[in-house]
């Protein structure tokens, strides 16, 4: 009797597990650069909302520090857990090759989101970037130019000296200033690095102001740097003399826009990266999207999206500019 009920129970258990397996939703994980980074909260929001709408299971994980190898154990754990899709903001362009290959060998779709494995693109299936990073430098120069009347001294306050994205944008800024006659009267006097620390960014900004008394504009293409630079300008009360702009988060810059310290700055929607990643991944898994260069697909709210060279996908064509008129429309 006991034996029989045990067997029955076992059978029921197997049947239940089978049913659960059949209805198992797609498991998507996003591995951020590090925890506690407000930028990733917004990307994660896009993943979450899209998974809620499409019925998939989403999890966000990230190491404590943004080191090159710190993401490897997280990727291994997710392979073990049997996820279907790994989205990752890689901390290194080459340290993850091996473990990402392992994931793909198990049939996991690997997407880099908000950063790519430059030079090692063959180790992921596709990349989702907010904009084509080639235009960021150009657009930022135009932004600061429009604020200072296309004439006078400008400086760049960046993150760390080895930050790959920032360095790419700085090259773009230099090229634009050198080659486009529109900016011939603008002079880049210094490029300094605040290491994405408020203290260091502040001392660098103060030093720029002391060393270049005629400085008209500062481009800070980093969220920590632009807030620190704005704070220096605010506390010195020189907003009409020195224009701070760059790339920032609306949530961190709102006060500076409202009190006129910063007239305008730029970024993209990190939220849309997560939103697009989920729609793309589910489409590839169910076969409705072909992950091939040149193929196109529709994403709700974003419209028609094209897969560009190197299986690279952008969520928007141009940077978004934030100013006093529109800043309250953004909740990230």
């Amino acid at each position: 009797m006991l034996k029989k009920s045990l067997l029955l129970g076992l059978a029921a258990g197997i049947a239940l597990a089978g049913a659960a397996l059949a209805a198992d939703p797609v498991k998507i994980v996003y591995i951020g650069k590090n925890t506690g980074n407000p930028y990733f909260d917004s990307i994660t929001g896009g993943f979450q909302d899209a998974c809620k709408a499409k019925g998939c299971e989403f999890e966000f994980v990230a190491p404590a520090t943004a080191e090159a190898t710190s993401q490897i154990p997280f990727i291994e754990a997710q392979i073990q857990r049997g996820v279907n899709v790994i989205g990752i903001a890689p901390n290194s362009p080459d340290a993850l090759n091996q473990v990402l290959d392992d994931a793909r060998a198990k049939g996991i779709l690997v997407l880099t989101v908000n950063g790519d494995l430059t030079g090692n693109e063959s180790h992921r299936d596709a990349t989702i970037l907010p904009v084509n990073f080639d235009i960021v430098g150009r657009d930022q120069v135009e932004m600061v130019g429009s604020l200072i009347g296309y004439e006078g001294e400008i400086a760049i306050l960046s993150a760390t000296t080895e930050a790959p994205d920032q360095n790419k944008w700085i090259v773009g800024m230099n090229d634009t200033l050198k080659n486009d006659p529109k900016y011939a009267k603008m002079k880049l006097v210094a490029t300094v690095y605040g290491d994405d620390q408020p203290e260091k960014s502040t001392t660098e900004m103060e030093a720029l102001l002391s060393n270049y008394p005629d400085l008209k504009g500062v481009i800070a293409p980093t969220t920590v740097g632009i807030a620190a630079a704005a704070q220096v300008v605010q506390s010195r009360g020189i907003a009409d003399k020195v224009h701070v702009t760059g790339l920032g988060l609306p949530s961190e810059m709102r006060d500076f826009i409202k009190d006129g310290t910063v007239k305008a700055f730029q970024l993209w929607s990190p939220y849309n990266e997560g939103w697009l990643a989920v729609h793309f991944a589910l489409g590839v898994l169910d076969g409705s999207i072909k992950n091939e260069v040149g193929s196109t697909f529709e994403v709700p709210n974003l419209g028609k999206i094209t897969i560009n060279a190197n299986n690279s996908i952008n969520t928007q064509a141009e940077l978004t500019t934030f100013n006093a008129d529109n800043i309250d429309q953004f909740n990230f």
Partner: protein, 333 residues
């Protein structure tokens, strides 16, 4: 003349001379370094370090060390930040802007007391205990905050004003608070019984109980003060920078503070150290931090130069001291 001699034989003379020489040398290349404006920049850089350094100095004088202060700073700042962020959800009303000040101090004191209890109850070395709590307190900061930053809009503007508005001479409140803490520490160490006992414990931990000193009690007080001051530095971090981040806020802070304390002539072997020396050590670090970008030293070499300056300062200080005060050298027990 005798005043000058008294000053020269003081332990702090070496570091004071170094600050003057360093500033003059930088001023030779960048005259704007020797202006009141620059002094304001330097003074605004150092308050958090100075406040925490007072606690760290007492800990080191007592022949311990507190590696957890950066995480203590982060945790206590986060508790107050969350209070500002979620007060309406939790209590149904907005808490007054100054609430974070006592809250962070008390939270920091609590974490410091935990350090002290672990060290005293289990007879563990402070370096090991606080290495553990360095990680523990940082981890707890992630847990309570759900790894979310408290943004600028949640920090009350009156609190941010402490770092900007000024009672006199364009000197923001935060600078007065830092020097006030230094003065209070001086009075405590020099003019109270317990203050003197801290030196006695550091000089000779074995003999201290024989002289009737309640070592456990004093040690607990020292670590509690160190935590409380790190907590005060935490709420002032929110004031100065306008946000609290679970991973960045206070990260690596302990190294700056310990460097400042040691440059200020506090002996890592305990029993020796002064408030004046520590203040000078903090100011020297502030001068160096402000000078490097002004000199246009590239970002890639700044860290190396900063470290080298610390080592050079230590070597000069120890050399000058050994020769300068040889005749007055006290006999170490």
């Amino acid at each position: 003349m005798s005043l000058i001699r008294t000053l020269l034989v003081r332990r702090e003379a070496g570091i004071a001379v170094m600050i003057v020489l360093f500033c003059l040398a930088v001023g030779a290349f960048r005259p704007q370094f020797l202006t009141l404006d620059q002094l304001r920049i330097i003074l605004l850089l150092v308050p958090l370090i100075m406040i925490a350094a007072m606690g760290q100095m007492m800990v080191i004088v007592a022949r311990h060390v507190d590696l957890s202060i950066g995480s203590t700073l982060g945790f206590s700042a986060m508790v107050s930040g969350m209070l500002y962020r979620f007060d309406v959800d939790w209590f149904g009303f907005d808490v007054p802007w100054w609430t974070g000040i006592p809250v962070s101090i008390v939270v920091g004191a609590g974490l410091g007391l935990v350090n002290g209890l672990l060290i005293q109850l289990f007879r563990l070395p402070a370096i090991i205990v606080t290495l553990g709590t360095l990680s523990l307190y940082r981890g707890l900061t992630f847990i309570i905050s759900n790894a979310k930053q408290i943004d600028r809009q949640w920090i009350p503007s009156e609190l941010k004003g402490l770092s900007q508005t000024s009672p006199v001479f364009g000197t923001p409140w935060i600078i007065f608070i830092a020097f006030g803490v230094a003065l209070a520490t001086y009075l405590f160490l020099m003019h109270t019984r317990m203050g003197r006992q801290i030196y006695a414990i550091g000089s000779n931990p074995v003999a201290a109980p024989l002289r009737g000193i309640k070592v456990t009690q004093v040690t607990l007080v020292v670590f509690t003060i160190s935590g409380a001051l790190a907590g005060l530095a935490g709420i002032l971090y929110a004031s100065r920078w306008g946000f609290v981040n679970p991973s960045n806020t206070g990260s690596g802070f302990e190294f700056q503070v310990i460097a400042a304390v040691v440059i200020g002539g506090v002996s890592i072997n305990g029993g020796v150290g002064s408030v004046l020396g520590t203040v000078l050590g903090v100011l020297l670090l502030g001068c160096v931090a402000a000078a490097l970008p002004l000199l246009g030293i590239p970002g890639t070499s700044q860290a190396a130069i900063y470290g080298a300056v610390i080592l050079v300062a230590l070597v000069i200080d120890r050399t000058v001291r050994r020769q300068g005060i040889a005749g007055f050298k006290r006999v170490q027990p």
